[in-house]
Amino acid sequence: MDNMTLIVLLLILMGVAYQLGLTRSRAVASTTSGRMNSRPGYYGWLVALWCGLPALLVFVLWTLLEPSVIRSVVFSQLPPEMANLPSQQAGNLMRRLGDIASGYGVSGDPAPYEVAAAETLARLRGIGELAKIAVMASLALAGLFIARGRIRPQLRARTHVEKVINAGLLLCSGVAILTTVGIVFSMFGEAMRFFSFVHPLDFFFGTTWNPRFSSTGHGNYGDFGLLPLLWGTLMISIIALLVAVPVGLMTAIYMSEYAPSWLRSFAKPVIEVLAGIPTIVYGVFALMVVGPFFSSLGDMVGIQIRSTSALTAGFVMGVMIIPFVSSLSDDIISQVPQSLRDGSLGMGATKSETIRQVVLPAALPGIVGAFLLAASRAIGETMIVVLAAGNSPILHANPFEAVSTVTVTIVNQLTGDTDFASPQSLVAFALGLTLFVITLGLNVVALYIVRKYREQYD
């Protein structure tokens, strides 16, 4: 019986338990003269929960623990020299034993000790399976009948059920914390392993990026200098902001202060479309359309522009974050009280003077916050840069040349590689940690600025 069926059976049993609780509570209600504490459905739910939750808990724990328990028993049976294998080989051996046990057979003749261990494995698995089902079934039934027997008018079924619901909801909110913990934990752990190969100072302040893929796995790993990547990231983000901020900000101003309503109702959703387009699409667009366009433009003017360059990637990324900048600025501009505008206009200022000298200064902290958010967006963006930046991790200041960024390098170092033992793949986590810290910092600062600003007019 596989786990799916087991869970489905348990759910069916819970349904039965609900019905039993329901009918039982009705019976109790009709025989006693006092009022029941809760409505009948709650008694049903209570019985169902008593039936399902303990069994489910056992199921989860069992599924998590069973493999390691079985493994230690099987390994204790193997010849002593096999007992202390490194984890990789031990895993392979376990898989081999599993194959023998399931009867598929393996390549080569299995040694007698392997056959014996496989038999133990098969037997243990069988016993484990049966024991799991037995324990779950008895717990479920016991829970069902105990809860059903406890149904009395005084039983505060609703309170109990609501407590469980509350706990479940809290548990779900905990997933967010768990994710953050997971991110920090995994990044930090793997980055620390990386720093055992490469000194943090060499990583954070190194100016050459040239990891060598040594097959021996020892000796010279090459240079892991972060600065060229960080510089590439910075250059592309600056270009992106140079495109997105003027266009986005002016769009927001025009939309909220000038545009006739027909234009607003048409242009706003169309520009918002830019925000919903997947980044891979922008990447392909940059590679196929924008890059060649810039390159031929450069030929015309007499500058050499590579088609995959910081300019291409930055420009397309700028287009991508236009709606982000414009909708954030729009929100902030519309929060500036009308009285400020009226005052300025009443003094005889023109509309543009009002905007430039009254509205924008008033909205400035919010707009700065929006820029920081946009910058953090640009820094963390991956696919556009992977496709259009050209991947050349060299320190130079020419935006018409290829660069590489932190995100591109993460993808390059980790793609297709799952053996996290070499600094070449572990460096991805150190880069990820850097990225995480930078974007987090930008966001915290941005939110702080935005929040501080909001308090002025509320």
Binding site: L263, I271, I277, I322, T350, T439
Partner: protein
Amino acid sequence: MANSTMDSTVDPRARIQRQVENSLRRRHAREKRFRRFGLTAVMLGLAFVAVLFVSIFSRGLPAFWQSTLTLDVRFDPAVLDMGPPPQAQPEESPRDFEQRLNAWNFKLTMANWNTILEDALISAKPDLEEHRRQLRKLFTSGAKYRLRDMVAEDPSLIGQTRRVKLLADAEVDVWVRGNIDRSLPDARLQLSPEVRRIADQLHDDGILNVSFSTTLFTNSDSRSSPASAGLAGAFMGSLFMMLVVILLAVPVGVASAVYLEEFAPKNRLVDLIEVNINNLAAVPSIVFGLLGASIFINWFRLPLSAPLVGGLVLSLMTLPTVIITTRSALKAVPPSIRQAALALGASRVQTVFQQVLPLAIPGILTGAIIGVAQALGETAPLLLIGMNAFVANIPSTPFEQSTALPVQIYLWQGNEMRNFFEARTSAAIIVLLLMMISLNAFAIWLRKKFERRW
């Protein structure tokens, strides 16, 4: 100088008036300029959208049409000499029967399908006999398997003739449709002059023509036969991932939003959760990929390239979006509803689940759909958990190897056969964009239909 001193002595009021007029003109000009800047920005934004869509669609739409050869194929029993498929004998074990069936299928696969293809062409154009060896290069290598599958499905075809539409080789497709510079020297063209000439001739005769092809929707990715590479596998992968996101991110996200909005007491833990969610929403997607690679793949040893793992990573990524939109949907339900329910004696849980949630459902659904659409378009984290592996099968469970639509786009844009795959890439983008647009349109429709003003 003399002029101005004269003005000031003559009439100071006129001088001031002129100054004011001048400055007004300047100010109004500046006003106009500012306005024009604004309008230019809006137009630029619109132009970007237009250029993006026009360039993608104009490049991608042709890929839905493909060069096909319409031929009468004779399933020649002299070539297909494996005889009728084995029937299960009552006395043999199922294992023996399976062995015999496999042997038959093997013989069927190893049959000389090229001869059959060549014969079919020659029977249509007898003068091609002298170029027999060249003819197989016209067909994509998937054409053979297409014929084999036809026979495997219906063995009685052996000995019969059928009219079949077969895909032409990708290079032939590129040549016939002029997607390559025809004046290039021979050394830089993949096809030999002979094949090119035959292809042109067949094109003129109407045997080889460009027609609408569903290959893109029915086939999975293929390396050996680029002309029959399709999106079906990636589509299924994306579908499974969306399913995982719907089953995980949406319920968990809604539950935590309900908790934070309706039940959470004011304490440290809840503050921590709130700060966390806001920060998670801003974490770059690739970081979630690193999380998946380290925790799900390296630690829990979940299978590489499986939509299940991809879905898990995308669920974590979309969770903040779902939580934030659900919270604003819950916020939009006026407090009077809650107060009324509480005043009538309902408990908090009853109030929330029986009054507030049903009213907030349209908003929650909109948020969920936006989250799912976001997950559908995400590429970077999937690259780190091995979903960029080449997978030729259409997955039938979320545990099998698979790619996803955006990853397929990434793989295709990197294909060396630029001339052919550039259009394919854009076509895949069109499919992806259409899916996203319809999801978003659905969300907008839901919002419009059920939106309620309080």
